[in-house]
């Protein structure tokens, strides 16, 4: 449940298809800051992988963003960037979309966590 406050917090950014972005912005996370930078990127068939990569890197560098929501199918396109990001903040959340159901085996967080279950850990 959300707390009511006048204190300014950090933003949630979103990278995803049209319906995901429209939905989350309708929910109330959309912002355009004083430098005219939006906190969302709508990915359609004309959006190149380099554009997505650039937007993702920008969101990571921005100090007013704490959580980045990204559609899992879009995250697949820039998997190397997501795997490189190991800092806890901003937290990168892979979210499902209406056309692409959630696949736990592709989630970078779970793959990282599963990687810890190797015989060396359990022994000793």
């Amino acid at each position: 449940m959300a707390l009511h406050s006048a204190v300014k917090g950090k933003l949630l950014a979103v990278i995803g298809d049209e319906d995901t972005c429209v939905g989350f912005l309708l929910g109330g996370i959309g912002e355009i800051n004083k430098h005219r930078q939006p906190n969302f990127l709508v990915v359609d068939k004309n959006t190149s992988v380099s554009d997505i990569e650039e937007a993702f890197r920008k969101f990571i560098k921005r100090d007013d963003v704490d959580i980045i929501l990204i559609n899992q199918n879009v995250a697949e396109l820039i998997r190397h960037c997501i795997d490189d990001h190991t800092q806890p903040i901003p937290a990168v959340l892979e979210i499902p979309s209406k056309d692409h159901p959630y696949d736990a085996s592709k989630d970078s967080i779970l793959r990282r966590a599963k990687g810890m279950f190797n015989p060396e850990d359990i022994a000793a």
């Binding site: 449940m1 959300a2 707390l3 009511h4 406050s5 006048a6 204190v7 300014k8 917090g9 950090k10 933003l11 949630l12 049209e18 319906d19 995901t20 972005c21 429209v22 939905g23 989350f24 912005l25 309708l26 929910g27 109330g28 996370i29 959309g30 912002e31 355009i32 004083k34 005219r36 930078q37 939006p38 906190n39 969302f40 709508v42 704490d66 959580i67 929501l69 190991t86 800092q87 806890p88 903040i89 937290a91 959340l93 979210i95 499902p96 979309s97 209406k98 159901p101 959630y102 736990a104 989630d107 967080i109 779970l110 990282r112 966590a113 810890m116 279950f117 850990d121 359990i122």
Partner: protein
């Protein structure tokens, strides 16, 4: 810092539980997103305008009007963890408890906050008299936002556990 076997087992079980709750919440999120998208589609159908709910209505960087987010997140330090960290500092030597910059967010969690000073409802981007299905879509996506923050908190806890186990190696 070396853990004994029981402590290690505890950490592994905790991590499995966190992974389970992470996956469960992701599937809940999927259901909510699908429901929200269905309501958006219904709004388009009722209004008989395919472009009625699209990126055309979203604010752009070219518009003069400033857009502020209705929901923000705040990183809150966990008091209980702070106490246990203090104990650790007292009990073990300084070398062991020296924290890297990566671990500075240990024991903190996100909290969703609604901005009181933001009066503009995003529903107004789509007109004054909007359909009930668009309101339902908004409710669904607001629940998605709340759930996303919960998932981010589980993710932080998982990261913290991973770091603990790495330290132990």
């Amino acid at each position: 810092m070396k853990f004994n076997k029981d402590k290690k087992d505890e950490l592994f079980i905790e991590r499995l539980e966190l992974m389970n709750s992470y996956i469960t919440q992701k599937y809940q999120l999927e259901t909510l997103i699908k429901s929200g998208c269905l309501h958006l589609a219904k709004t388009r159908y009722v209004d008989r305008r395919p472009n009625y709910i699209s990126t055309l209505q979203l604010p752009t960087s070219d518009s003069d009007k400033e857009t502020k987010a209705l929901y923000n997140v705040k990183l809150v330090e966990d008091d209980t963890v702070k106490d246990s960290e203090k104990e650790n500092v007292n009990n073990s030597n300084k070398k062991e408890t020296k924290k890297s910059s990566e671990n500075k967010h240990e024991g903190s969690h996100f909290e969703l906050i609604k901005q009181e000073d933001v009066k503009e409802n995003p529903l107004r981007w789509f007109g004054v008299l909007v359909s009930q299905s668009l309101r339902s879509a908004q409710t669904d996506f607001q629940r998605c936002i709340s759930l996303s923050v919960q998932i981010a908190n589980v993710q932080l806890k998982l990261k913290k556990l991973e770091d603990k186990l790495k330290e132990e190696r």
